[in-house]
Symmetry: D2
């Protein structure tokens, strides 16, 4: 839905349910994916395990486009299901990359749903291909499914195979695996991406990227999956394998800043509170004199409220967002394009007219949309515009599951803060400090990955992968 | 998009453009209807006048569903267009009632777009039928088009016919008429529904239900059409006919409370400011002691902010609304339905836990959704819930263009305020007074219709119409 | 489905059913329209009368595109229905012209389905407009509905109004009218277009353009409606009004040649037999020496068989028609277009190689497709190609319900038979004589209209209408 | 389109093109798939090789449903393409099994399109799984792609890998493989299914299941691929590898009887001629006295013509087939179902009334449709009905690429010829002999597989596969 805006994208949301008393796990997965839709809007899918037979439906589109009553009914009456929604960075023919991935190996069928990015995927892929593997997708998930399959041949159980595979795969992964009889969740040793555990009213087990998905099906939040932990549900019982636990916790701090839904509780901290706290620290670090604080909808509103609370500057509603503008929006002609941002976002003039305005948002990516939004406020009569960003500037790519990508696109890589302020036309521009952003989730019990701000990553990233991030090309080997 | 909620509906949004220098009036109408979509989500249409030939496309669905690039191109290259979006109360086969209505009469084609309701439509329809008229739709618009057509036979111009027709039709109408060479806007003498005038950058003229539609195409707001005024655009010139002006201004106050978009300026007053003012007066009239003020998204947020500003009680964000839940939402099964409101609206627990909460919304219709929302807050740990409504209770039907309808459905007709409070489970329930609601739009230069609150209507409503509102039935005359 | 071909079009098929014991008249109408689909492929509709309330669904598209299970169910459980399918000659926005037309007049609702063309529609329309009528469509059907409505005001019954209206409307009409309690069928005094009566197994009454529609619902064919006859079904009883009967019967002979389905029985004659007879007479009139007779699928096959039977020249299968090529066919690029006819129609080389071939079809319209088909046969090795047409050449427009239209498009208006033969590249070209075509339906009890061949029409056609057929333009009256 | 009928299904059509001068191979593939649509109507796909990058689009549906202008344009401007259409026997989620299959292995991407069935697929699949392979589909094509990939690791070229793979895979396969630079066609040593070679006007090479696909793009038929032959196109040159040639030719005779299009030339013989010859031999073997010979459309028409030619009994047109009835046909209610066959197929009464009728069709599968068709003819007044089948009775399953499957469904497995005749209500029932069916394609240079008639198969079929054909179940291995 953010097609007119210039926002970053999370790459996935995952969900799993094991509930022997529920006759409708497909609908539960559907509701949960609705709640996780913000984590991926390009394609989605659900796989249901009906007594060992796995039925799967997945396609390009939002949850309400891909699923309807009839499709859900065809998925059958199983008691285990996995769901996935995805933002695809690869472009054409994206439905082939939709998940869950359902494969058959020597021990039966397996469905996988994965959020994250491996740093050694290319290397593993090459090794597998040298041994005769074939790949249908460009997903890391297919690499993971091969590694698990290989280990499965010499393991006595699927969870043993997952455990062994975790010695091989490196990077970020919140993974859900469904076998004919089990549901398994695993999180990488650094815990880059979120993954939590809940229980349904009837005593079933659910895993989800965020707690808001548990709320949507009336399940109770139990706890986060620990970094490096494997949780196995089988025969209505849950057990934990902690072989890989104890590494350096490095949760993606941008989940708190932007990706996660504000009503989710992650690593013990409220996302909404973290955003308000970001606004508070933002003011503490860079106090500004102004008449009103407004946020850019929807992601800047919470931080704006915190900013107002800390500063005492009144909170105002600066914009109306048109909630009907979808992805099929027809681009207006040249003459009409100037006003295109107003179709999606219009200023409430009374709020800013004649005032010194603090405008809060969570990030600046390329800078073009910001400039237009600032112009809207000025045209509506604002005296001054002070732009406050509730995170540090992006200067480095992310290798762990988001599309913070090419240095060329990131305005903070090309310009100083003063230059950016000038280019978007504001009286002042302030960012949250790296130290500040680490403090926003006050109650969180985890460490943070701030690699996109600092360039220092919690685990080694192969040089070839770093290089590839900038020069991604599909040059086929011939013959 | 409010399918899970229990809200009232405006019945229409209208738009007209006359711009000789614009080669793309269809796209302008499309953008304007996007901005007016909140006024009607069931069907929509655009008619373009290409040198006297009128092409029209209209269908059931939202603007992005009904229109695409190809459809807009087929509408051609004219310089006059009218657009309409509509909420239909009649049910099946609604696309036959879509507007604009395009008819051919003795002097050529004519397209009409209408917002409002006539109180003497049934009476006029009967007279017309006795003279051989046939009706394709159940719209008042078709009645109006007949009346104008009859007058046109004995008038020297279409505007003269419109002027004469205004002696005959009674009730609420903001009307746009397109003839082969002219664009005409007319507003009923009481000015029940909004209608404003703007100018495009290239000097063209536009009419729209709300000023937000002007913003969306970069047009400048000029002024409201006066109650009883007719505005004619012809040969790039605009002129006004004020024969019917000077009546008792009776603008629908609920446009300020709920129907209009907060970024619109109507009758000289900001809608957003009016809502905040409603919150302020609400507190003044009924002060409450509490720890946090939250609004029900999206319509209760502005009043909640005003309430907070007046009371000094901190403003909080109490809910996250799932912006992906659309009309195709699949109803969950019995066991899952309990939580269905959470799919659309989830509580941010941190905001309400352990607190005395003031919950602000603009209205209570049947009360069922309210009760669920209150339960959400209580389940999240709120100590007290005080429900404050930024309008008086609905006790009477509306005859002027909204679906405030049957007394049976309106909870305030069946219960006292105390009983309602008890039924939805709140510590206190307060409504804005009728006197208060008349003061919310401080800068407005108009009078107000508050008939739905008081039962006193600005113009006479025939008894048969009142009766029909409760016992609407299509009993066919036989033979 | 004839988009790649150059064929003439019938303009409508109509259907009506009155069956008190049937709970599913909508499905009956659906099945019947399937059988009548060849008479009109652009839009279709069904109106059901459920105890006086008429529900209607109609749209652009083929029957299977417009109707599905859900739509049929929404039409309800009535016992009277009318259906219509239509080929539209007007182009854009055709769905507004879809039928049945459902209107409300002083005595209740009325649904009309009409096949044919009035010759005085423009004149009637003007008179009506001068009295204040407005028109939503460009259909003659709307004119008819006005005339009936006017008469209804001074008549004691709907059938009396229909009877009086028949004094006013001139031209071709096979008309079905549904009132709250009655189903009425009427055929113009010349009987230009077909209309027959049948009875369902449960004793209900049905009307249809062709008997094949009766077969599709298991109804028994009773008889044709007579030219000028009105048949009224009411209270499970049928009665006939013959006020207008006894005129000069002038059935469209091209129904037998091409429009009607070969399994239909019309005016007492088998359509299939008439086509074989056309082939027989064609050979009798113009004997040719050849090795094989082939028909152009599907319409030339029956005549080819008759030709073979009369001549003793073996019948062969010369072509395979691709039955999957539909209207959404993507036009190939320039280089590929040469072969485009082969995508729809491919030669069976073995049938024609080294042979003298008689190729039979029912008509030549513009000649371009013929030339391509002839080339296919030559490329496959035919020694000689003799083209035999089972009807006389079109030299005049039709004013009675088909699109035999502009003289410019008709090759026979521009060229002699020899010139045509040369232009399409055949050794000989022979047409059936006008006298011959009148004899093809041996058992038919009717007279024939052969105006498109001779220019002599059974009833007077106003000069202005003739003129308009060539210069159709929508020039709007201004102001 | 045969959803109302009870017909057998071919499982696939394949197409490949290599044309360096063509800028639009995707459209060529689209046109060719249209011509091959009769070989598979459930899903289809096209993969285009644009300078080493393979883009693929495939989905459930007919060619016109799956492809449109936009989709074809997205496939890009390559010069090599493969296409596939498919009838799926597996049911749900069939789009996952759509072809071409595009996979990446160690040497780059590869696209495969396959028609046929391996008899050792299950065995190979198990071996591969024991070595760590994972499967996404249930297609034999994926097994073949693995085998080729394994061989590719130790081969100097893709064609060498295909050649080696042919030592491993057993059964029926007409295979097209596209590598980054080559297009390869291969046919199993028995030549079960057809595959031919053609050249485009610009000198490119094309492979197709049937020659009718060559005609549709204006390509010239060159020759059939030999059983066991591999043809490689690279650098605009074609070369043949004949290592596997010289086996026992066993072409599926039912391709001539029913599957192939009558305008195709296969193994040197015209399919249309073979069908007429089948009719001739059918009469020779079982002469009947009668007044008219009619065929069941469309597949019985050619044999009926041959029967008429041999017997001297006049050929008649007995049925009209409704060409608009598609797969979305809504089943009528119980009362209406009796006549359901008439919606698709109606009798021309004049042809059969009072006559002794020979009814010709190519096969009887379950017998239910036959009985209805016979009843139609009797109801229309036929004196006698003699049913003649232009092939021997099916008594055994097919393992080589068709759905002649379970013995339970085949009426000839349960009843004697006399019993069948009685059950469908005919005076006589005659089948073509096995000896006769082998002689229908007079000019064919190949041997034939008649296993479905005799139970004797040209190559060994593992017992487990035979068994599985009757008891196909997906019993998952646990854990």
């Amino acid at each position: 839905m953010n097609t007119l805006f210039d926002k970053l994208h999370e790459e996935c949301g995952v969900f799993g349910i094991y509930d022997k008393t529920c006759d409708n796990v497909a609908t539960s997965a559907y509701l949960a994916l609705y709640a996780l839709q913000h984590r991926g809007q390009e394609n989605c899918g659900i796989a249901v395990n009906d007594d060992g037979v796995i039925k799967c439906h997945k396609d390009a589109g939002l949850v309400p486009d891909v699923f309807n009553r009839e499709v859900l009914e065809k998925l059958g009456q199983g008691s285990i299901a996995v769901g996935h929604c995805r933002y695809s960075t690869t472009g054409n023919s994206s439905s082939i990359n939709a998940q869950p991935l359902v494969v058959r190996h020597c021990k039966g069928h397996m469905a996988l749903a994965h959020n994250g990015n491996l740093v050694n995927a290319a290397q593993l892929r090459e090794q597998l291909e040298m041994n005769g593997a074939i790949f249908h997708t460009t997903n890391d998930t297919e690499v993971i499914s091969y590694i698990i399959t290989r280990e499965r041949l010499m393991s006595s159980s699927i969870e043993e195979a997952v455990e062994k595979a975790m010695h091989t795969i490196k990077g970020a992964y919140s993974l859900i695996v469904m076998s004919p009889k089990k549901l398994i969740a695993a999180r990488d040793p650094n815990g880059f991406r979120p993954l939590c555990l809940g229980r349904t009213e009837s005593g079933g087990y659910v895993f989800a990227s965020e707690s808001c998905a548990l709320d949507s099906i009336g399940a109770e939040f139990v706890r986060d999956i620990e970094p490096g932990e494997i949780v196995v549900v089988e025969d209505n019982e849950m057990r934990s394998i902690r072989t890989h636990c104890g590494g350096k916790s490095s949760f993606c701090v941008f989940e708190f800043v932007y990706f996660a839904r504000p009503d989710s509780i992650i690593e013990g901290a409220s996302v909404h509170d973290a955003r308000r706290e970001a606004g508070r620290i933002l003011y503490q670090e860079n106090p500004v004199e102004a008449d009103v604080v407004i946020g850019v909808p929807d992601s800047g509103l919470d931080a704006a409220l915190g900013y107002s609370q800390e500063s005492g500057i009144p909170y105002g509603v600066g914009f109306v967002k048109n909630r009907y503008v979808g992805r099929t929006f027809i681009q207006p002609s040249q003459g009409q394009r100037e006003n295109s941002v107003r179709i999606k976002l219009n200023v409430i003039s009374e709020t800013v007219k004649g005032k010194r305005v603090v405008l809060v948002d969570d990030s600046i990516v390329r800078g073009t949309t910001c400039a237009r939004i600032v112009k809207l406020i000025r045209d509506a009569g604002a005296k001054e515009v002070h732009f406050a960003i509730s995170a540090p500037p992006f200067k480095n790519p992310c290798f762990f599951g988001t599309d913070i990508d090419s240095r060329d696109k990131l305005i903070a890589c090309r310009m100083s803060v003063d230059e950016i302020a000038k280019s978007i036309g504001v009286e002042s521009l302030t960012y949250l400090s790296v130290d500040g952003v680490k403090r926003i989730a006050k109650d969180a019990k985890c460490g943070f990955c701030v690699g996109c701000f600092t360039g220092e990553y919690p685990i080694a990233v192969p040089d070839v992968v770093k290089k590839d991030k900038f020069e991604r090309k599909l040059s086929e080997k011939a013959k």
